[in-house]
């Protein structure tokens, strides 16, 4: 078998003005685990979608096992043993695990869907691969880790020999990641070929055999894992030497980052959360009796695997979710039952985790977005004060270095990083005492991350109380004074950042050391 399983060359793909891929190439040898790395928006997912038949390239050729398959469809890809596990879950929540796994390839008895066989087949596959999930459960009831396993089961069920995984570890806890590695190695040893996308350079070093680096849509490097270092990979990704503050487990700005901190814990109590409980729409407690407080000049960082209640905590404090029990006090004012508007008036600023859904009105201009929530203050005798809104926008744009630097463009037309800057500018550009920052650097590039981190540090130094939630453990470690780990709706542990390391916190993230497990 001399033909390479994957050979892509000269791939071009544009989405409107965005050139997602430009003359990108990829060459994967048989039986290897190949890592595909690059900054946000570098074009990794697009390249893999082209390989998986989801997206058609504008130019270039795709060869699979030596055959030209350029422009094939998803079903062609599946039929030829190419399986993609997408960055965003592609599962139908109302169907069961087994139904999701066999969807599109259903076992039949006559013209009927053979549900029994689907179940036995999927259970057999679970046995064989060790990807344990309850096959007859609805997907909506699964944890993210389980859902991730279902995604992999889906591709294997279709007999995938070439497996593409787009950031499968983003939502997994360290033990889950280790389990995944076992599965992937086994698949490789059974003759499979694996392409893995991840932002975590330690993982790249851990698992891959070969690495392809992408930057701005193009392939800029190809290296053998055993012959390179994280720093070298990072340099290739960004195109210059970087003091790695890019999240990546071993490359974070270590304990030194905390050294420049002024001694905190002296300020006034600005945010007090007591016995906070939040239920989801199915009345399941997703936040379960959490208590903490933050003083002026303090950053509390919440780490944890996503989906353990972090989103809900922030949204409950911000007033976007009903509080089932407990209380929230801001600067001495009880806001437990207050409206979003009143909480904002009480001093809460909020950088939401999903800027597209919550943080911005994408059709509105930059200027309009910069007054979102404050529109009443920017009006005069019942009318919006256009001149003031414009002046305000110019000021904030300059201060937060938003590009393009004019107020008129719609937020939709900005890049992700600049969209996030608009949100930050609005929330931090007004007076506040408590900042809720949820995934503040998600999906933004290195330069922007530096900028945002600086803003957060400055706010802390100015005596604000900051609640930082991030999926990036390293970000939490870099910014927080106190670190809490959330697991299943509770704080599994709270400790000073100076004592915290990934090794110490890791087990708590999966319930290993949690107090109620003890």
């Amino acid at each position: 078998m001399s033909a390479h399983p994957i050979r892509m060359a000269g791939i071009d793909k544009s989405f409107g003005p965005v050139r997602a891929n430009r003359a990108a190439s990829l060459d994967v040898a048989p039986g290897e685990i190949h890592a595909l790395v690059g900054e946000n928006g570098a074009g990794k997912s697009t390249l893999m979608k082209i390989l998986g038949g989801l997206v058609e390239p504008d130019a270039g050729t795709v060869e699979v096992n030596g055959r030209d398959v350029t422009g094939w469809s998803t079903s062609d890809a599946i039929a030829n043993g190419v399986g993609v596990v997408h960055q965003h879950f592609m599962l139908v929540p109302t169907l069961t695990v087994a139904e999701n796994v066999v969807l599109g390839n259903e076992p039949r008895r006559g013209m009927l869907f053979d549900r029994t066989r689907a179940l036995t087949d999927v259970n057999a596959l679970i046995q064989k691969t060790g990807l344990v999930v309850p096959a007859d459960r609805r997907v909506s009831e699964l944890s993210v880790g389980e859902a991730q396993r279902v995604e992999i089961l889906k591709t294997l069920y279709r007999g995938a020999k070439i497996l593409i995984l787009d950031e499968p570890t983003a939502v997994l806890s360290p033990p889950d990641v280790r389990e995944l590695w076992t599965v992937l190695r086994k698949l490789r040893d059974d003759g499979g070929t694996i392409v893995l996308i991840t932002h975590r350079l330690d993982e790249v070093i851990d698992i891959s055999d070969t690495i392809t680096v992408m930057r701005a849509g193009a392939t800029v490097g190809r290296m053998t894992t055993s012959e390179t270092t994280p720093a070298e990979i990072a340099k290739a990704m960004v195109g210059r030497d970087v003091a790695l503050s890019v999240p990546g487990r071993e490359t974070i700005s270590g304990p030194g980052a905390t050294a420049d901190r002024p001694s905190s814990a002296a300020g006034a109590l600005l945010l007090e959360v007591r016995d906070l409980s939040v239920s989801d729409s199915r009345r399941i407690r997703v936040v379960d009796g959490v208590t903490f407080s933050i003083r002026a000049g303090e950053v509390l960082g919440i780490a944890g695997v996503e989906g353990n209640g972090q989103t809900e905590i922030v949204e409950a404090i911000a007033g976007l979710r009903d509080i089932a029990a407990g209380s929230v006090v801001v600067s001495g004012h009880d806001v437990t039952r207050a409206t979003v508007k009143d909480r904002r008036a009480a001093g809460i600023a909020h950088v939401p985790e999903d800027r597209h859904r919550r943080g911005l009105i994408l059709e509105y201009s930059i200027a309009e977005n910069l007054v979102l929530g404050a529109q009443d203050e920017f009006s005069k005798r019942g009318s919006l004060d256009g001149a003031r809104i414009d002046a305000h926008a110019r000021e904030q744009i300059a201060k937060f270095d938003v590009r393009p630097s004019t107020p008129a463009p719609a937020a939709r037309t900005l890049s992700g990083g600049n969209q996030q800057k608009v949100v930050i500018a609005r929330e931090m550009g007004r007076s506040f005492t408590v900042l809720l920052a949820a995934q503040p650097t998600r999906g933004v590039d290195v330069g922007a991350i530096e900028f945002i981190h600086r803003q957060i540090r400055e706010a802390r130094d100015a005596g604000k109380a900051i609640l930082l939630v991030s999926a990036e453990l390293n970000e939490v470690l870099a910014l927080a004074d106190t670190v809490a780990v959330m697991y299943r709706g509770k704080f599994a542990v709270t400790m000073p950042a100076s004592d915290a390391t990934p090794e110490v916190l890791g087990p708590y993230m999966t319930g290993g050391n949690s107090r109620d497990a003890a």
Partner: protein, 287 residues
């Protein structure tokens, strides 16, 4: 009125609702909003009348009626799936188009703005149960439940309505699934109209009289579950039978008795069932 008559009357009244609601359910589960049921029914009724009139055969009438529903089902499909037109807007347009076209053609062919000549129908008998369409209407609920839950295609319909991207990622042609679903809904709702027309042995202008909207209410009332939606159809039909039986009793004005199904729907939407659990991708164009 004896219980037998009460039940048979309720079932006869339910037949067009059952057809239309079953059809609407298939389309909605695939993610296509079904405000079109009224138009599908009317086009079914009209085509059935033409088919029966020109062939002299009720069976041909049924086939023609199904084809009429299919035609406008596909039109709605092309507008919303191919051109990604807003599904509510397209629905309103389709309804308007059918009302206008049926009248124009009625005028053209029969020089009448109100009704067609008498056509061949089925020997329904006194209870109405001699009409095969009654049985088909009653069967449409289990058939749709079977389609949705027991066939591979049903699984794909559900996937297309809940998470079209996920369906597409495993090689399912979501557009095709939606076309088929909206075509099925056109045929089924069309058959509801066929029943009305052939039972009357003629087409009367606008003879569906809002039944398509009651059917869509039944789908929502039934929380997009075929069995519950079928139950809702029977509930509405029972309300109507009661309305027929109660008229003139107790001095309640007919206007108020006539409101029962509508008020029932509003109350149900507001109170009894809580938040709707519509298919997640309902109304969203696939891209």
């Amino acid at each position: 009125m004896n219980p037998f008559d009460f039940i048979t009357q309720t079932l006869r009244i339910a037949v067009p609702y059952l057809f239309a609601a079953s059809g609407g359910l298939v389309a909605e589960r695939a993610g296509i909003v079904s405000l079109t049921l009224e138009g599908f029914m009317l086009s079914g009724a009209f085509s059935a009348t033409l088919g029966s009139y020109y062939s002299g055969s009720a069976v041909i009438g049924v086939l023609a009626g199904a084809a009429g529903g299919l035609l406008f089902g596909l039109l709605h499909g092309i507008a919303t799936v191919r051109f990604r037109a807003d599904q509510v807007v397209s629905g309103i347009a389709v309804n308007l188009l059918v009302i206008g076209l049926t009248q124009v053609i009625l005028m053209l062919l029969f020089d009448s703005s109100s009704n067609s000549p008498r056509v061949e129908g089925f020997q329904a008998g006194l209870s109405g149960f001699g009409d095969p369409l009654v049985w088909m209407g009653l069967a449409s609920v289990p058939v749709v439940a079977f389609l949705l839950y027991r066939t591979p295609f049903g699984l794909r319909i559900q996937a297309a309505g809940e998470h079209p991207e996920a369906a597409a990622s495993v090689g399912i042609n979501v557009r095709f699934v939606r076309y088929v679903a909206v075509a099925i809904s056109g045929v089924l709702a069309g058959l509801g109209g066929v029943y009305l027309a052939l039972d009357q042995h003629q087409f009367t202008n606008n003879m569906t009289a809002g039944r398509g909207f009651i059917a869509i209410a039944a789908v929502i009332f039934g929380r997009w579950n075929p069995w519950l939606a079928g139950g809702a159809c029977l509930l509405f039909a029972t309300a109507e039978t009661l309305q027929i039986q109660l008229q003139g009793v107790g001095g309640i004005p007919s206007q108020f008795i006539g409101m029962i199904p509508y008020v029932l729907t509003i109350v149900a939407l507001a109170g009894l069932m809580g938040r709707a659990v519509a298919p997640a991708a309902l109304g969203r164009a696939e891209d």
